[in-house]
């Protein structure tokens, strides 16, 4: 049957216009203008002030620490997320559903609770922490603690991007490759990876954005020592509490830029992934 546009709900011009206007206005108020405000505030004292705010010794240290944390977190979560997605979409076994629910736990748990869990276990009074303290290992209130809670908070993202896609794609191609004698790693690299590439890229980018921006969990375990355990989001808070608004928004604008970049990459990745899915399986993998 041919689709007739005037036969669907909400197609009257006045209703369409009203709904579009409401959606655009609310999106502008709630999403676009807040974003504009960040950059307006960051630039409020001019370029020179922005550069000197970002070039501040403590801000630079916070940027360095934040990048370091992301550099450790993202690869680990990439390996875990890919392994888990492969496991739950390629095999059926008892407990499979439980695993899928378990990886959502970091989504549901308050970041403060997440930080607290780690503090209780690895802190000086925790059963593992007191044992580590005997060997002069201190994980909490220093960078390893920050890395650990960041891994906790960001571990679902890669798997969450991959699971629905890999389920949808099914396993025919991979099974064919196995029948033709492809070995495990080769199979993954040549057959699976090209098909999930863009979702994987977005998963990594999103993990990175969340790792760089984690606040609640990190603030519980960091100890907030300026120039030592202050990540960029914690530094934003510190500057804001010091009434250094321009400084706070200068640091915030860096994080906002990462967020915008993440959304841009998402747009590209979704478009490329959709194109990939639209093609016939046969010409999806040349050679």
């Amino acid at each position: 049957m041919k689709y007739q546009s005037h036969h669907r709900v909400g197609d009257q011009p006045w209703l369409r216009r009203t709904l579009i206007l409401a959606a655009v206005a609310l999106s502008a108020l709630l999403l676009a203008i807040p974003l504009v405000l960040i950059f307006t505030q960051a630039f409020s004292a001019g370029w020179g002030a922005l550069v000197s705010n970002i070039g501040d010794r403590y801000t630079l240290h916070a940027i360095g620490l934040t990048l370091f944390v992301a550099l450790l977190t993202v690869p680990l979560n990439l390996v875990f997320g890919t392994a888990l997605a492969w496991l739950v979409t390629r095999f059926r076994f008892p407990g499979r559903k439980l695993l899928v629910t378990l990886i959502d736990v970091p989504f549901a748990v308050s970041p403060v609770v997440a930080g607290l869990l780690y503090l209780l276990l690895y802190g000086r009074n925790g059963w593992l922490g007191s044992w580590l303290a005997d060997y002069d290992v201190q994980l909490m209130f220093s960078w390893p603690g920050i890395v650990m809670v960041t891994i906790f908070v960001t571990c679902p993202f890669v798997a969450r991007e991959l699971i629905p896609l890999m389920q949808q794609q099914g396993t025919e191609e991979e099974e064919a490759a196995v029948t033709l004698g492809a070995s495990g790693w080769r199979l993954f690299r040549r057959v699976t990876l090209p098909n999930i590439k863009w979702a994987l890229i977005y998963g990594v980018v999103l993990t990175n954005a969340r790792a760089v921006g984690e606040f609640g969990a990190v603030s519980v375990v960091s100890g907030n020592i300026r120039g030592q355990t202050n990540t960029l989001p914690l530094h934003v808070e510190l500057l804001y509490q010091d009434y250094n608004i321009a400084g706070a928004f200068a640091a915030a604008s860096l994080l906002a830029a990462i967020a915008i970049l993440t959304l841009a990459i998402k747009g590209v990745a979704e478009w490329r992934q959709a194109r990939l899915l639209a093609r016939e399986p046969a010409d999806r993998n040349p050679q």
Binding site: I20, L84, D104, V109, L121
Partner: protein
């Protein structure tokens, strides 16, 4: 959040990597997700029942539960309406800037919560872009529960949109067209034909938004004012107890919060699995 679409039954494990992926996943989940829980269990196990009850039923803490629950409830209701509107407009209509709005919906997931917090606090402060206008009509947002609702609503905008959008996209136009051809009004067709397929996804989105709002910390604390008994959310209460080095009290409150969020998570996943099965069973 479970994606329970049924896989085709497979007679044998043809594909390699079961052992390796199972090993990596279990090791990671044990070390990262499960092991830390033992610390909480150990800490709360050291308390007697009456000590535990004394901490979690402290009037200031109880007030924080109430504030958190009703602000999260209103925030998720708002997102139900706003999310449905956005999903509808993005799926059904073409207009300039549509791709941009679609991309911006995910901003609250990508933007650090602390950045969202200082941004909203600045916008709604009495001298801010929004605050000064609201002030003239007698509404103050910053340092009130309304501020908490706005912060919670902002951070959970994507949930409803992203759960409703795919369902709306796959809705077959035939039923709707038939109903309109038979002379039913738009409102009636929406209520009788569209909404029945839509509400499970809508409810899931609202529940996810609610769960997320209950735990929200970074975005809330900057705009809330954090006055005990009035604008103090439970996440902050927890943080305050930690800063007082009262680990036992913090653990007791945390175990309540954790229990609520886990129950919600499992309920949402169970329910989602059910309605997806029903959809595919048709």
């Amino acid at each position: 959040m479970a994606h329970a679409s049924p896989l085709k039954p497979r007679s044998k494990r043809v594909l390699p990597g079961f052992g390796l992926s199972l090993g990596v996943s279990l090791l990671f989940i044990s070390l990262v997700l499960l092991l830390p829980l033992t610390g909480l269990v150990a800490e709360t196990a050291g308390m007697t029942w009456s000590q535990f009850w004394f901490v979690v039923s402290d009037p200031r803490v109880v007030e924080s539960y109430k504030v958190t629950l009703w602000t999260a409830f209103l925030a998720s209701l708002f997102n139900g309406a706003f999310g449905l509107l956005l999903a509808w407009v993005l799926v059904r209509y073409e207009f300039p800037g549509k791709r941009l709005i679609d991309a911006m919906v995910d901003l609250p997931f990508a933007l650090p919560t602390a950045v969202a917090g200082i941004t909203l606090a600045t916008l709604f402060s009495t001298s801010g872009w929004y605050g000064q206008w609201l002030e003239t009509i007698g509404i103050s947002v910053a340092y009130t529960p309304v501020g908490i609702i706005i912060a919670m609503a902002f951070t959970s905008i994507p949930f409803v949109v992203r759960t409703v959008q795919p369902v709306l996209e796959e809705l077959p136009p035939e039923d709707e067209e038939a109903a309109i051809t038979l002379g039913a009004s738009d409102g009636r067709v929406f209520r009788k034909v569209i909404f029945p397929s839509l509400w499970p996804a809508l409810l899931t989105g609202i529940a996810l938004s609610f769960t997320r709002s209950l735990g929200e910390f970074g975005a809330v604390i900057f705009i809330a004012g954090n006055t005990p008994y009035e604008t103090e959310v439970t996440s902050l209460m927890l943080f305050v107890r930690l800063q007082e080095f009262d680990h036992a009290a913090a653990s007791a409150i945390a175990s309540v919060v954790l229990l609520v969020s886990l129950v919600l998570l499992f309920a949402i996943n169970l329910w989602q699995g059910r309605y997806l099965r029903r959809l595919h069973g048709k």
